[in-house]
């Protein structure tokens, strides 16, 4: 499942956009992402750039004007709520290959 600060309505549009087969969860104000240590705030120059250069106003997508975002992260969590594999990116253009995640799951089922 995937968590973002977008409103539920925007998340539902994302399901339509990308045809995802898993639940998207709404994390208003990045409160849960904050518990995971993932949250950062876009500075004023980047807010302007997002609005003017990308036509992206986070107030619309996220339903608040905090301009907080999570660093992209992917976790494998076991039955004891222990993280068995993690990948956190300070650089939002970098993501782990799904193969790595699947290999982590394989290792868990072998143990």
């Amino acid at each position: 499942m995937a968590v973002s600060p977008q409103t539920l309505e925007q998340s539902r549009s994302a399901v339509d956009d990308f045809g995802v087969a898993f639940p998207l969860l709404a994390d208003p104000g990045t409160q849960v992402a904050d518990r995971y240590g993932l949250v950062h705030t876009l500075p004023e120059n980047l807010r302007r750039i997002h609005r003017e250069a990308f036509d992206v106003d986070l107030a619309t997508y996220n339903g608040d004007d905090s301009w907080t975002l999570p660093m992209p992260a992917r976790y494998v969590v076991d039955g004891d709520r222990r993280v068995r594999w993690a990948s956190v990116s300070a650089d939002y253009t970098v993501r782990p290959d799904p193969v790595e995640t699947l290999e982590a799951l394989d290792r868990m089922s072998e143990a």
Partner: protein, 83 residues
């Protein structure tokens, strides 16, 4: 089939080509700030307890992490948005 890393690299190269310098610099500066502060390293990671939560889901129900993990391992992703 190209791996994700390759596809992302191509995508980013194309995006960067179209970006004014000042935009690219601002984005890179912010990323560098996060990297220099060690933000990725200090986030929840391998071996840590995953903080529990209850969040509304596009399925119409709310999801509680501690309930879900009882049914099997959970892949939990955080992303910025559909934009």
């Amino acid at each position: 089939m190209p791996r994700l890393e390759e596809k992302l690299r191509t995508f980013n190269e194309n995006a960067v080509e179209r970006m004014p310098d000042h935009v690219l610099r601002a984005l890179e500066d912010h990323t560098r700030t996060l990297e220099e502060a060690g933000r990725a390293e200090s986030a929840v990671g391998e071996g840590d307890e995953a903080p529990d939560f209850e969040l509304d889901s596009t399925t119409g129900e709310s999801v509680v992490l501690s309930d879900l993990v009882r049914r099997g391992p959970v892949i939990l992703s955080f992303y910025r948005g559909r934009w």
